[in-house]
């Protein structure tokens, strides 16, 4: 009898123990699929790229030759790399400046909640949801030197044709223009909701003080939306640093390297020229740039979530 009771007790204990083990590992089982995928496909490659950047390798041969920091030495001595970096930064500065600045103007124009403004917001935002590959193909046609719409319109006003995608002085500006056209709706919409969030009583107080339109903007509107603008600047910078589609589809980095960017040269060296180590070194430069802005992004994001 006692033995049976003791046995029963043992069995209960074992059952409870296995239950509590299950309980303890359940959280890990839940997150395991996601964490494994993120670790294998989004964390490991970053370290692997650092590793690859120390080797000379053509992607095909079975052996890799260790060369230390030679890839970086070569990279920093290559004027083409500096041009690529400069192109990327110029592109980023203009896309972000024009996008956020122009987005603010559009947002101020469309901030009132009316049916017309809602429709216009949807129209301006529409390029943002369409594939960048589609946009690149469409603008390649619109910017065609001989038969394109843009030169057709210019011709109507008596302006001579521009070689939008062939002239070394114009092509980078053309790509900037397309990117701003695609993403300005996003900037504008985020700013519209920031503007609509400003408490009305601030404006009423300004009116009682007989503040002019400019003074009101400078001392109420701008300070109230500046955190949103800063957030947009960082998001747009990160998006601009990784530009690829328009370049690969429209210009292939040309003419004469005028539109080559970090990501596109990383792609070229990796797949077209088969210099994997050198490409990985370019990737490390890109990593540093993105990491810097990501840190700022998280600082801003945590503050904003905190305020909410």
């Amino acid at each position: 009898m006692a033995a049976a009771a003791a046995l029963q007790l043992e069995a209960d204990k074992a059952k409870r123990k296995s239950h509590s083990v299950l309980h303890a590992i359940k959280p890990y089982l839940c997150i395991a699929p996601a964490i494994v995928i993120l670790a294998v496909f989004w964390v490991y490659p970053i370290f692997n790229m650092g590793y690859l950047s120390l080797f000379k390798w053509d992607l095909i041969s079975p052996t890799m030759k260790f060369v230390g920091l030679q890839n970086f030495q070569k990279l920093f001595a290559d004027p083409q790399f500096w041009q690529t970096l400069a192109n990327t930064l110029i592109y980023t500065v203009f896309v972000v400046g024009l996008g956020v600045g122009g987005g603010l103007l559009i947002a101020l124009f469309l901030k009132k909640r009316t049916k017309t403004n809602g429709f216009l917001q949807a129209v301006i935002f529409s390029p943002y949801v369409v594939s960048l590959a589609s946009i690149a193909l469409l603008w390649m046609w619109i910017m065609n030197r001989d038969f394109g719409l843009l030169n057709g319109v210019l011709g109507f006003f008596g302006i001579s044709a521009v070689d939008w995608l062939g002239d070394t002085h114009v092509t980078l500006a053309s790509l900037i223009l397309i990117s701003v056209w695609k993403s300005i709706g996003y900037d504008a919409l985020i700013l519209v909701s920031a503007l609509q969030g400003i408490p009305q009583h601030l404006y009423e107080a300004a009116r009682l003080d007989r503040a002019g339109a400019w003074a009101t903007f400078r001392s109420i509107t701008f300070p109230m939306i500046s955190p949103t603008m800063f957030f947009l600047v960082i998001v747009d910078v990160i998006a601009s640093l990784k530009v690829f589609e328009t370049i690969q589809i429209m210009t292939q980095g040309g003419p004469q390297n005028a539109t080559n960017t970090l990501v596109f040269s990383l792609y070229q060296y990796g797949f077209a020229f088969n210099k994997v180590g050198y490409a990985a070194a370019i990737g490390m430069v890109l990593l540093v740039l993105i990491a810097v802005f990501s840190v700022v992004y998280f600082k801003v994001l945590s503050k904003r979530v905190h305020y909410k």
Partner: protein
């Protein structure tokens, strides 16, 4: 004195009328100005899409007229047949559908449990693991494609669906969004359900998922749009046409030797944009809200 007063009154009335008239005129001018800007905005942002459709219905000869004509003299619907038969359109379309559906299905399986665990359980390493999840949100595909190509090549998975699906089988961003929503779940409700003897699975399905419906739709829409639109990943992770998706297929039409047939290219481009445009037409309010969500936070 009386006379003076009346005169002054008349003058004030006259001044007032003048001001009112000037104000009305100003209102008219600003209204016309507003409409001019409205029309300009529609032209700048919508006209390129109109141009895409118009060009897709022109003959090859018409696309090479300069200055270009606004509309085709006779819409060439056969261009769409031409576009579809000039590339293996059906295969690209099928690949796009397979990849998009697989990504959506796998994300459901990986994102929901992870978001639930990060929101509801306390366990060792939670902060660290959630931090890692957030950091991967900032890693763009354009940064890691080269080492991943090497990895997939080692696993003999280049030119298979796996290389296009696996890296996107979960989403740090969606885990983050869904965890935020799950965090808002009132504790009393969960406890009440537990007292009623509901199993944890039942609590998730009956309580958490219905409450997070808006977030789930948002995540699904954003994932659908970004997967369908993606050109970069299916281009760089493939070396042949076997699993390439529609954006890569359509863009490959520009590489024809006889010069680009823009009327056919635009027809294919219209077909590529069509699903997104249709979804946008019906759900633009929801999509705009979804995209601006993270910006609002």
């Amino acid at each position: 004195m009386v006379f003076d007063n009346a005169q002054a009154n008349a003058k004030v009335a006259l001044d007032f009328e003048g001001i009112a008239r000037r104000r009305a005129a100003l209102a008219w001018v600003s209204r016309i100005g507003r409409w001019a800007v409205n029309i300009l905005l529609v032209l700048v942002f919508f006209f390129p899409f109109f141009w895409m459709v118009s060009s897709s219905l022109k003959t090859l000869g018409e696309t090479m007229q300069f200055p270009p004509t606004l509309l085709p003299s006779e819409p060439q619907w056969s261009n769409y047949d031409g576009a579809i038969s000039s590339i293996p359109f059906g295969k690209y379309l099928l690949n796009s559908v397979i990849v998009t559906l697989a990504v959506l299905a796998l994300q459901t399986v990986t994102v929901v449990p992870a978001a639930y665990a990060f929101s509801q359980y306390r366990f060792r390493g939670r902060g660290l693991l959630f931090g890692v999840t957030l950091v991967t949100m900032m890693v763009p595909a354009q940064l890691v494609f080269l080492p991943l190509f090497v990895l997939f090549a080692k696993m003999q998975m280049i030119n298979t669906y796996w290389s296009l699906i696996l890296p996107f089988a979960t989403s740090a961003f969606n885990i983050f969004m869904l965890r935020q929503t799950f965090n808002q779940m009132p504790v009393e409700l969960i406890e009440a359900a537990r007292l009623d003897g509901a199993s944890e699975f039942k609590i998730i399905v009956r309580l958490f998922l219905p409450m997070a419906k808006a977030t789930l739709v948002t995540c699904a829409l954003l994932t659908f749009i970004s997967t369908w639109n993606d050109y970069f990943w299916p281009l760089v992770l493939t070396t042949n046409d076997a699993v390439r998706t529609l954006p890569v297929g359509v863009a490959s039409m520009r590489a024809s030797e006889s010069g680009i047939n823009y009327h056919l290219l635009m027809a294919a481009n219209v077909l590529l944009c069509l699903p997104i445009m249709v979804v946008y037409l019906f759900a633009n309010k929801h999509i705009i809200k979804a995209f601006s969500y993270i910006g609002d936070k």
